[in-house]
Symmetry: D2
Subunit: 471 residues, 4 copies
């Protein structure tokens, strides 16, 4: 799995995976599941496996294959795993998930995808009660609250905890006896259930169930707690009130793997439909339709089919592995993009090109690619984007830039077009985007990054970063 | 750059790069050039740089980024580099190119792409004269012959040597004062010349000239010796007789990077044309045109454009890095292919698919991919191949399997179709293939792997392998 | 520093180091201090440095030089470090000290040498109150108690905590503003104070103060809390009652580095005196006095001086680095010992040898060495031990074997002599041992491993090991 | 094995090992042999094993345990190995011995201890004949000469070659069928023969024979060629004239491991005798005899025994592994020495000390150690050296400094004493040194570094270094 860090893309912050099966090699299964979720987090990875009494752990920095060198010592019938984005650095080793703890009722492990929004209050409150935090993750708050709850069993402790925490969380938890999945009441992040021959799987995306030859059963519902143990599987709910779900729209637009299905909606299918919709909305005349590889490919194919304009690939993307995450400066980043993308002059020369991509964040990469195409002789470039303009930061687990860096924030379409240097620029319409996802109603989507309608409370103050100087 | 070793593909054996420039950071330039040539060899890499008197070396096993950790100590104004395929193993460290030697006239470095066909005789002869071989490469023979030649200057020594060696060789050579490029009289392997602001580049493919921001000048001619020194650039020829050139056809079909231009013919353009030609020849009715990613993409796009059938991508290829080259057994190989390729059932279900690929070697991967597509619900699969059937092994630098493993050897079209499990199977016609490369006449191509017409003498006995027990 | 794990020796469990100085390069100082304490723990190492708000961390498995690769990012004016013995394994990465936490009053770091004896009760109690343990160390209990205490400032929290915990602890603690040293009321483990030009040092042994060019001030007293901050240094006491101190006798016999001084008593000096005492007590007639290198060297030199019998080195010890800690089986261990020790037949042949060592734990290594000497031609071997027989396990931070494995447990002197295969065997007398340490009164020593007189409560149940299944 | 590079010591340049045995695990045996010879070369190591047709290789930079990671692939019944000193650097990988070649008669491997003195002429001559050198070692000259010789069999080729090369060489050579040992006609470097149950060993020192549980047979004679094959062992001689042998005196004084026996003379025994001789010659009155550890230990023990003055160890040497060979500057070197040596003030305070060491090269380390002792309170320091003053560089395989850096070159005893800062300085007398080695006559020793009487021709010009720019 390559690392896209030099490209100007939104970053999913995590992927989670869990399995309960007494007949399989659990460590290997979690590993394969994490490989399938690698696109959701490329900075660290971890697996913990429980055999009831004994817990074995394998963690490390980097891609799954680099981070998890030795699976042989992982023994047991319940395992969870995690892949993660975050700032890198040896000093952050203590933050690698899954988190592990021992509390009143035994061992507990926890992997978290998402971002809590009331961490400052909770943390202050817990510290006031004597808690000591040994990581800088918001996820550790959940661990402390589970430990401190007065409820008898873990299911009740989880309910109690989830009624206190706010924001986005898809959790996979294990104890000596059970595997538990939790999806927050808004359902921001995906989480789904699969079946193995003799057990069950929980995963961020259905592609990870496929990867271990499981069968997809269904998505975990917003606000649902799924408990898997020797007796089988049963559900419980955080609250009796039914919430309106708000799945992150960008899972469909860019994050999720194209072969995943989230809340009943195929990911590739939605992207293809967004492309068709763009064709209907723009009606541009051009010689070729071309994606920015690979993020715009599915939409470009949809555009080409709907418009009848030939699909051509005039940019070659080199899948070389990046070893460093944060390129030192703008010049180095630009060089890195240019090393990743080569133009095929034979394809683009003297052509009017409909260039399709999923989104524009800061606009820096798009600008460079447009420049590369101009050098290759492109006559006209009409850039079509399969998302609405990103104008607001995400507080639910996506690493958007700060608002002032978002190119669409406070700028007109014409200003953005001029900055990027294309002849025409078009973002998909709100209704068009909504229409592209047939199985999901627009009211069930979180669109906060487009319209600023945040569907849960925001953090008191935006956290200052990932260094250790918390609060 | 990913490693394709689990796929059933032909393997290019090497890429070479050289640069003469007194103003640039030579080590860094050769490194960037090798990155661009990474697809030509992924098992080891090496750079040597000469400052006149002093030679500095960096070599290692693996991809360029893993093999060449430290460039800072490379100092000088002439540098050559090499990427290589071959059997792997710590014991083979001595075989990593460029080869370096010190002989009567000073230091010499040599990087070789291709394969000599009269090595046994030459080696026996040289050993008879007292030569000691310290590697198991055929390239070392050239080094010994250059050292042993009675000619006064290196240019004459090279001519003399090249008149003795047979087979395929694109060489980049350096001494304390000059950089030399040699292309064998048949021109089997590509080699081209680029210009930097204050110097010159030699590279296997034009994409490597682009990678270091050089300007493409021209291809080295078959049989040409190009000498670059402080005075500039001049040419000489191995023989006064003009040979008919025979560039390897598979450079166009699969090996070379799509953005390269070889002997005046754009690589992407030829692949796209092969796809259009396949459309004209087959006239299949179907719902979608789909490539086997990434080898069939350009031809599939050509097929789609010519036929008007929509181009769709129903297979997702994961660009994960393989760490091991030789998968232990068939089962493990199959698993590896399945991990690399996922089907998108939404795209393929109930569809009649025109599946496009560049070639079939042993047929094992194609069979697995067809099986994956069937599991995804494909109704009909029509496999179209943009090369003729590969029936003969290559002795000029390509790692084909042994003849008996080639699926097209001794089997009818119907037998191959049944083995792979498709509904229809079609290989491009000889004339159709020829017509796809407008800038190169068919008589200038080596087509020996299709028709067995080898254009130079064959080895006395096929070499037994890469172990140390030569002869 | 070599790793002695194949030898049958007692193992010290930890070394700690702390420094407060606004003018020095703190990370480098802690590193040099840990290098000097390497003999106290060779399985993992860690450094944390605080600049007030920001804490930077470097930790790893293995020797200090392997574990701590990058010091450059450590910035601040207060630093603590830790070297540690324990079972090895990637899964134990979370246990590497110093422990770090964030609690009500800010960041806190803690490094612990010693072993608590009432951990089960404390841990159960804390978990009952909602604490979640994220490591399997007893040291984390201290962290939780400090966080949970209701006292206003850290000094009072430490006092409160220390009145609850039992057993052995020499602690080095830091916060954003101060460096604190604590030595348990029995003073089992050493801890001393040094002065730099502009600040202070705390260290397990005085040799670490020397290593960073500090000046030794004095030992921390049993039950003392030393607080160092911008105002300077001041003391406080865990309890107002003065305890009788019980410094571990084995610090003098074997653990501490010979150039250290503990509680006013020179370490080398005591060992040398033990040897002289052995000479007076045994009065053996022999040809040479010889140490088992290196553990018996100082005592053998004392024996030689007192007896007038020539000191000779007939065993050569090879200081090769062991990479693996736990040798797979007895045969492999024996081979490892034989690789470490070579006999010089010229020295030992036909000689009556007084062989001097510090102790016998299980007797396995001694038996092999005696066998090596016999093969070298030794005529008589009289083994003199500068400690009393080890018959009881230690619960205060030393890794003795289980009691049943101790060769002196339940066996007569004659039985031990026969097992080891020497002609005579002599252990130093209690009074003789006491007399060897002039600056320390015998009542101030912990001799529990000799006589079973444990000077604080024992653990409720001996902990089952270092796996994650605590309690 | 620790790396002594920061100390001011002479460096042996190599150790060699060979074994012929059809019943043992050859790779493992050579490895164990090299571990025993680690003190003879710590910069790179290599093993090659031959099974007749197939040769397998393992080589690397650093200590044996770091350099040779994988022994499992080494298969065969003849193996040779090499440990080496030289300038370090990745670019020098091609110089790691054993050298391997394929020539007229098959494969050949060669490991060389020593240094040739007529390399320039030989190399020029060979290059004139067309040879290409692929390393910068003098040893490759031997390989080329063996390949180029017109003689029928290898034994004759070796004789012919040895009659042309001059200087020091102890060689271990293998082919598909035999193992050969050669010691130059002066016998500068040691080489001895051992017996396994079913085969034979060749090794630089007898300690390596012991390490693999072989039995020492005898030393290879000066000028002898020993051939071991399936028929057994037989000898031949380079020349029929009997040469006078000149074994390097420093093998006895410092290089060889104390448990080795060279040419019938025990190494430890000679060092002990040198110490007794120093006592007789100096008759110093003092309180203690003390070695500079570890180089002076044996001689100090001898001095103590002879004089009756107590032997005490007032300096502690820390066996920490150095990772870097060339310390950047004088200050860093001094720091490194101070980290290696700690003084025990209890031992040295107010004492008159007889300090014993084997030699003084540049005097830098001695000066620092004397300073450390003064800081520890030493009253008087009388430095006794068990070699004569080193005034001349060695051309036979020892890395002495350049002559101008040798402290004894052109300086009076008083000048040296003042520089080092001792109260008295004494070097052993020529006759005293000679008398210490009872089994070897002084005329059979090379003493050139003391007296400049070189016993073979010197190099035309001293080689400029180890860079690639030879000639």
């Amino acid at each position: 799995m390559e690392n896209d860090s030099v490209l100007d893309k939104l970053h999913e912050e995590c992927g989670v995976f869990g399995i309960f099966d007494t007949t399989l090699s659990i460590g290997k299964c979690v590993y394969e599941g994490l490989i399938a979720l690698q696109h959701r987090g490329q900075e660290s990875a971890g697996i913990v496996v429980s055999s009831g009494d004994l817990v074995t752990v394998e963690k490390g920095m980097g891609l799954v294959e680099d981070a998890l060198a030795d699976l042989d010592h992982l023994r047991g019938h319940i395992g969870i795993g995690h892949v993660r984005y975050a700032t890198t650095g040896a000093s952050e080793v203590q933050n690698i998930q899954p988190l592990l703890g021992s509390y009143k009722c035994g061992n507990i492990g926890l992997a978290h995808n998402g971002n809590l929004t009331n961490t400052l209050d909770l943390r202050k409150d817990l510290e006031g009660q004597g808690a000591v935090f040994e990581t800088t993750t918001d996820s550790e708050i959940i661990l402390h609250m589970l430990g401190r709850s007065k409820e008898k069993n873990l299911e009740e402790r989880i309910k109690k905890t989830c009624r206190c925490i706010e924001g986005a969380y898809s959790l996979v938890i294990f104890t000596g006896e059970m595997l538990i999945g939790v999806r927050d009441p808004q359902g921001y992040r995906p989480l789904c259930i699969g079946k193995t021959k003799h057990g069950y799987i929980l995963a961020s995306e259905s592609c990870a169930i496929d990867a271990v030859h499981g069968t997809f059963l269904r998505d975990v519902k917003a606000g649902e707690i799924v408990i898997i143990d020797e007796q089988g599987i049963h559900s419980s709910y955080i609250s009796e009130t039914v919430n309106n779900q708000h799945t992150c729209v960008f899972e469909y637009i860019y994050f999720a793997r194209p072969d995943s299905v989230i809340d009943g909606q195929g990911v590739y299918e939605s992207r293809f439909e967004m492309g068709r919709q763009l064709a209907r909305e723009t009606q541009y005349e051009a010689d070729i339709v071309m994606p920015i590889p690979s993020s715009g490919t599915a939409a470009a194919l949809g555009y080409a089919q709907e418009s009848g304009i030939p699909y051509m690939e005039g940019l070659v993307r080199h899948h070389k592995v990046e070893r460093t995450f944060i390129k030192p400066n703008q010049e180095a980043r630009e060089l890195a993009v240019r090393q990743k993308m080569d133009v095929l002059p034979h394809i683009v020369q003297d052509k009017r090109i409909i260039l399709v991509d999923d989104s524009i964040v800061r606009g820096t990469t798009s600008k460079i690619i447009v420049d590369i195409l101009r050098q290759g002789g492109a006559k006209k470039i009409y850039l079509c984007i399969s998302s609405e303009p990103i104008q607001f930061p995400c507080y639910y687990g996506i690493d958007t830039s700060v608002q002032s860096e978002l190119i669409a924030y406070g700028r007109s379409l014409e200003e953005i077009r001029t900055y990027i240097g294309v002849d025409r620029l078009y973002y998909i319409s709100h209704d068009g985007l909504a229409a592209s996802m047939k199985a999901v109603h627009p009211s069930q989507l979180c669109l906060a990054c487009f319209n600023g309608h945040y569907t849960s409370n925001l953090p008191k103050e935006v956290e200052s970063g990932d260094t250790y100087d918390l609060q």
